[in-house]
């Protein structure tokens, strides 16, 4: 959905932890530099962590304690009410927002978008990188040009296209009368199933695969599908991992597209549900804080596990959200 662009080909990036020491000045001066660095970095890091610490702390407080002066950084009287109410656990909260559903929706949509994108992007990237046929460069150029275009332009037409998909959502065969793929998983997933930028990144990676390898496989009688599945894909594993994590993150936290096409609460994704919750029920901060923690956890866990691929992916693709 996002068609923002990298205007220059991304350089291959290596995130090294050990680096050549740029200078060997006298020992004492060097130590001064390091102290200065800590003096800037550590308070800065605290500023970056404090909102998260407050978020987690607040999510375990009763709503009355959240407004207490001075603020409680460690809950005096910890409570799970925010979580229970948000997830609709327990008798007294049965009428709550039933938000567990939002997280299932987010997980389903983000997983589908990621799997489809990896599959379709890599198929197209392989063709653009390694196959010769009439029209190839023209089609590839078309993909590249459209990366320049901001997503807001295609938003309205895509909304109309989805609304008029025939025979879905109460539409007749001419796509009239109903809501089509609006407010459906199809509408949430399919427009994000291919990404020109993802194709571009994977193609750049695949170009470096030696042609001899593919020719050898062809001479051995391998079909194109087999070459793609057994040779090209395994060789691209690092690139696929990096773009896959990145795609998942983008789809998980996407807000704009669900906001536009989803209307019924049982199709809300987590970011959409939370955002509408804050806009509509301004006072239930305990519920909101609990929901925010739950919405952030999956990405933070993924980040901690795949930190290396994550940072490489972001450094290579140069994009966020």
């Amino acid at each position: 959905m996002s068609t923002t662009t990298a205007p220059q080909p991304p350089q291959p990036v290596e995130v090294v932890t050990a680096l050549p020491d740029p200078g060997i000045p006298p020992r004492r001066r060097r130590r001064t530099w390091l102290w200065l660095a800590y003096l800037v970095l550590v308070p800065g890091a605290l500023l970056f962590v404090a909102p998260f610490a407050w978020l987690v702390s607040a999510s375990f407080q009763r709503i009355g304690d959240m407004f207490s002066y001075p603020p409680q950084w460690i809950p005096q009287d910890p409570s799970l009410d925010g979580y229970r109410q948000f997830l609709g656990i327990g008798q007294e909260f049965a009428g709550g927002p039933q938000a567990w559903r939002w997280f299932l929706n987010s997980a389903f949509v983000a997983t589908s978008v990621t799997v489809l994108q990896l599959f379709f992007n890599s198929l197209a990237a392989y063709v653009f990188a390694k196959r010769q046929f009439p029209g190839r460069d023209l089609i590839f150029a078309l993909f590249l040009i459209t990366m320049m275009i901001p997503g807001q332009i295609t938003l309205i037409p895509n909304y109309l296209v989805l609304k008029h998909v025939p025979l879905f959502g109460g539409n007749d065969i001419f796509g009239q009368g109903g809501s089509g793929w609006l407010d459906s998983y199809y509408g949430l997933i399919l427009p994000g199933a291919v990404s020109a930028f993802g194709i571009f990144l994977l193609r750049q990676y695949m170009v470096s695969i030696p042609d001899e390898l593919l020719d050898a496989a062809r001479i051995d009688g391998a079909s194109e599908l087999r070459i793609y599945a057994r040779i090209v894909l395994p060789l691209c594993r690092p690139a696929l991992a990096a773009t896959g994590i990145f795609t998942f993150q983008g789809a998980w936290e996407d807000f704009f597209w669900p906001l536009i096409i989803v209307s019924s609460p049982d199709k809300y994704t987590a970011p959409l549900g939370l955002a509408l919750f804050v806009v509509e029920n301004r006072t239930q901060w305990d519920v909101l804080m609990a929901g925010s923690v739950i919405a952030s956890l999956p990405m933070i866990v993924v980040f901690i596990i795949f930190q290396r691929q994550f940072i490489q992916g972001i450094a290579v693709s140069g994009l966020k959200g």
């Binding site: 970056f48 379709f120 901001p150 807001q152 020109a196 079909s223």
Partner: protein, 309 residues
């Protein structure tokens, strides 16, 4: 689609045969079919259709969708609210992008020193990048709260202010508050990109500079900063493109107010399209945004090339 049974010796003979080519190309077109179809519908057709919409008065609730020529375009140029939203977007971009990059560069330079525990520090600065943006906006809305927000509490505790500030409701403070939150969420991204670029600077350059007697600060100014130039341009272009499209924090934190002071271009387009259902006019506004972005990117790339020579 398959040549599974073709013995190796026949490959040469068929290399230029028509049938061979059709079969080979057939699989390539087959691979492309679905991605290309999706791309054609959701990008190419959408683009053409959006352009078509700009010449029509097209509302989803009205059955009549008359052709209006260039009316939408002239309306756009005379729409003071739209022009104000452009000014707001410039304000947002002009402050948030350079400051985010400068802080990101500073942190990257410091983290490039042989510090203990810099893996952890890097992770902490990067946390906002992996947190859903909606969550960040919600938490900051709370932090900014006038009655019980943490900012007001600590500012009053330390005696910097006497009475609570209405960060998001004060017309003069709303945009700076949104900008501060956006900087906070974007620093980690600039930092990672700069860090990767710093580690790619050839160390021979530093050796040569030292031989010439350059101090650390001179090395920074004459070696590091010029070497980071492509990265800086890259971050600048990406940063401008992204912040021209700022939406989520506006939607959640201020709803474009107070008195339209934080209404950005995309928020304005969103309202035109999905609040007032003026699809034709909203498409025109989107093309206006595209034109702005296009000009900006061209100017930047031109300046970059000029600077390189």
């Amino acid at each position: 689609m398959t040549t599974a049974t073709a013995p190796a010796t026949t490959v040469g003979r068929h290399r230029h045969g028509l049938w061979w080519r059709v079969r080979r190309n057939g699989s390539a077109y087959g691979f492309l079919a679905v991605p290309l179809l999706l791309f054609m519908v959701f990008t190419v057709f959408a683009l053409v259709f959006a352009f078509y919409l700009t010449f029509h008065e097209w509302s989803i609730i009205e059955p009549e969708r008359p052709f209006v020529g260039l009316q939408n375009y002239s309306d756009m140029l005379a729409d003071e609210s739209y022009l104000r939203s452009i000014v707001n977007t410039f304000y947002f971009t002009g402050v948030s992008v350079p400051v985010t990059m400068a802080i990101g560069l500073l942190v990257a330079l410091l983290l490039n020193l042989p510090l203990r525990g810099r893996g952890i520090i890097r992770t902490l600065y990067f946390l906002p990048v992996v947190t859903p943006f909606v969550v960040i906006a919600i938490v900051w809305k709370w932090l900014y709260n006038g009655d019980f927000g943490l900012f007001n509490y600590y500012l009053m505790q330390t005696g910097i202010i006497e009475s609570p500030l209405l960060f998001l409701a004060d017309p003069d403070l709303a945009m700076p508050s949104v900008i501060a939150m956006s900087i906070w969420s974007g620093v980690g991204f600039s930092m990672v990109i700069y860090l990767a670029a710093l580690q790619a600077v050839p160390f021979q350059l530093y050796e040569a500079a030292r031989v010439d007697g350059a101090t650390r600060l001179q090395q920074l100014w004459h070696v590091t900063i010029p070497q980071l130039r492509p990265t800086t341009v890259f971050l600048l272009v990406i940063g401008i493109i992204n912040s021209f499209q700022v939406f989520t924090q506006i939607f959640i934190m201020t709803s474009g107010g107070p008195v339209e002071r934080t209404t950005t271009v995309v928020y304005f387009i969103y309202n035109a399209a999905f609040k007032f259902y003026e699809f034709g006019y909203a498409s025109t506004l989107a093309f206006g945004l595209f034109a702005l972005l296009f000009v900006f990117t061209l100017v930047q790339l031109h300046l970059y090339r000029k600077g390189e020579q």
